[in-house]
Symmetry: C2
Subunit: 474 residues, 2 copies
């Protein structure tokens, strides 16, 4: 009996897909990466996952663990050139196992969709703060394995800071039960942090205990126009000093980015006319009037100091939603308006203006016809710097591969020079494995190789992801 | 030339101590653990550390990295029965390398004393939030290697959550430069989290980039008496709902603990008369009146609901300091008043009352003459549950070792039954290595062994710490 048939007999009905039934599992959301697979498995329990992992290990097959396929570096779908692997999709594991509002914790299966977890938290009067454009599709195992960021990192940290415990199937099929719901636990090495952000290369996350926070009941939201990124930084500093942790959102975009969102989805008008735009939000437990007054006072002082050009404070929930629609509309717009070469840079927050200046100058110099599209989680020092070509320009382009490399090199050199990172929140995947090799500190890269080798000695867990395939066993 | 002489010729003057000059480095603060060493080294730079590590590796000597010797599980001083190791004290490496207030980061040497870093942050109008009784002596490398907790974890997390980057000398003498000052960086495996909390067993932390926060300008502090721990939990929930992240402190102690603090240091009177006492603090950026009103309103509502017996809000800085002196006085009192068998348990916050009930009943049953002394970072689910014998009782005790084990077993069984940890913030050290072996999930312990083996194949980094010596190479 071949392996798919063996596994079919072992697992619940419909747990093994082959042939054309696999097609949905072979392509990422972005539509740029398609690969092939031996077959697809759809386990329902952690024990199912362990059984599949053991069977594949015996047969010498590689495994690609898969969440909602919304990742942006190709970690969740097979690469085109790889030995075809087995895809292990967590999408049928979507139970919320337990919620403890007093402890501020929720135990979930890895296949739970992020927005379902957010809703379950709200129903218990709590907040699960990780929030991003793909939240209606991405899965908990995926955001953990990528250490996803999003728009609430400024106050609540990345996914990493919101994971208390994990359950992981290791490459040899053993199950590690680290489902502790504790705020403090110093019992040995911090294993969960090895698996968070490891993109399924050291094991498969099957369950997690997530941290919940008090649910803010009041929000004050503003759209602010500024003439210059230096002034945006001054405003950030001002708001942090007077509002502290109430400041949950400080998102920057340039006028070109805003225009393309509006062009793609022309229901919302631009709230301000400026070269740079900020979406700012404060959140607190109560007293929305107090919060609006606080924001108004801070923005008034900034206006008097000549830091900002214009500011609109949302007067109601609809206006707030409209502001957010402009921010959340960037991903869709950037997928559809022209051909965008994206970057996901981080630098120290204090260096964001300098990064924008040097990167823009370098791009304009090299590609005068391209448009620069910036959307930035500025409060985290994270800049999505896009270089956009019209579809016509791109299709007539001589050397698209070379242009991609050239743009990436400009970005990453500018970030490096400021002590930054070439991948702030999207991870490495297959796409940036070469870049990781090139830009890593030698002792750091060797340490990563050691980690991979000792946990996955046969290199069968998501091979080619994070570390290049030939670096994994050397 | 022998190794101390070799190293003396290589390193700055006074960098190698032998004989009686070593005595201060051989004993921990608690005074219960004393060991022996071949010699002590006092490097001034990261390169010095690397040179010492390489020389010891060549000679096959083990190394015990040492901070302020304030740890409570014996990780920073040699054990009595070990092969004598070389002690590597970071105490001469105490430069603050850089501070970036806008980015909210500070780069420091590992030997910096915690209170010096706190002061440097305040001078830049920022907060480094890790705060604990030993802050005037403990060093940054020590709090990182233990993942220290303290009294601000409720709002700001443990040390782990406040480390952005690390510099580490690996067991082979290579220097890993991970001194990134970034809020987001997903470039490969999270190496820094391996070293945080690893107690110097995977490498020696020589530098760190720490996270700074907005400096609160207003505080409201209360001392509250409650009749029962269940009611304390209800009050915690109430305060989190209405005050959110403003709640920075929620510390519980029993009347016996408070009495011993006052007995040991009789300058401060008890602010309330109750079986259980809470120190509660709110912090915010501004408007102290508003904050006091908020606390007063919440405590008033709690009083009306019958949750609390008595509450005193500090009217000025002196009163606030007095409340804190009672809390910070627990460590000194517990070291001096009778013979205390301490425990450092964590459970889900919601399970703290149940833990206190079952552990107290079990101790009373087994040791009717002993006194129960509780001080708890209740907001983090962390309970320091002490069982105290009078000096007279203890010195006439038949089997002190057996009693220690019996008390520890009671504590840890009660914690285990509630999904807890036997070491919340003090770590494993040499003292709890057996306990870690016994209470670990099998896949988890094997993973820790793998980590140790791949990073420290010869087992020379702080041997016997975290993992038992014979488990390190198996």
């Amino acid at each position: 009996m071949d392996l798919p048939a063996q596994l079919s007999s072992l697992l619940p009905a419909g747990a093994v897909l082959t042939g054309d039934d696999m097609s949905a599992y072979l392509q990422d959301w972005w539509g740029r990466q398609t690969g092939s697979a031996l077959f697809v498995t759809l386990p329902k329990t952690t024990e199912d996952v362990a059984a599949i992992v053991r069977a594949c290990a015996n047969a010498g097959h590689a495994i690609v663990p898969q969440g909602g396929r919304t990742g942006l570096t190709g970690a969740g779908v097979p690469g085109a050139g790889d030995r075809p692997p087995v895809i292990l999709s967590l999408s049928r594991m979507r139970s919320i196992r337990k919620i403890d509002a007093i402890n501020g914790s929720i135990d979930v299966d890895a296949g739970c969709v992020l927005s379902d977890v957010q809703s379950a938290a709200i129903a218990a009067d709590r907040l699960f703060p990780v929030s991003l454009g793909a939240e209606g599709s991405c899965q908990i195992g995926g955001i953990i394995s990528t250490n996803a960021g999003g728009t609430n990192v400024l106050r609540y940290g990345t996914t990493r800071e919101n994971v208390l415990g994990l359950e992981v199937v290791l490459p040899d099929g053993m199950i590690w039960n680290g489902m502790k719901a504790l705020r403090k636990d110093n019992s040995g090495y911090a294993l969960r942090h090895m698996f968070i952000g490891a993109e399924g290369t050291l094991g498969i996350v099957t369950g997690a205990v997530l941290k919940l926070h008090s649910l803010p009941k009041a929000h004050a939201t503003a759209w602010v126009g500024v003439s210059d990124r230096e002034l945006a930084l001054r405003l950030l500093n001002r708001l942090q000093s007077c509002c502290g942790e109430r400041l949950t959102t400080f998102e920057l975009m340039n006028a070109e980015q805003l225009a393309s969102v509006i062009a793609h989805r022309p229901v919302v008008a631009s709230p301000a006319d400026a070269a740079w735009h900020l979406l700012i939000e404060l959140a607190d437990m109560s007293a929305p009037e107090f919060l609006s007054e606080m924001l108004l006072a801070a923005l008034g002082a900034a206006m008097n100091a000549g830091e900002i050009l214009d500011a609109v404070i949302a007067q109601n929930g609809i206006q707030r939603d409209n502001f957010w629609a402009l921010r959340h509309g960037t991903a869709d717009a950037n997928r559809n308006v022209g051909h965008l070469l994206p970057a996901d840079i981080s630098v120290p927050v204090s260096a964001v203006p300098q990064f924008l200046n040097t990167a823009s100058a370098a791009v304009r110099n090299r590609f005068p016809g391209a448009q620069i599209v910036v959307v930035s989680h500025m409060g985290d020092g994270n800049v999505h710097f896009g270089v956009r070509f019209s579809h016509r320009d791109w299709s007539s382009h001589d050397d698209p591969g070379g242009t991609e490399v050239a743009v990436r090199t400009i970005m990453n050199d500018c970030a490096d020079a400021l002590g930054g990172s070439f991948t702030a929140e999207h991870g490495i995947g297959r796409k940036l494995a070469d870049e990781l090799r090139t830009r890593s500190d030698e002792a750091g890269y060797q340490s990563m190789q050691r980690l991979k080798k000792v946990f996955d000695p046969h290199g069968t867990m998501n091979p080619g992801c994070v570390l290049r395939e030939h670096d994994q066993l050397s």
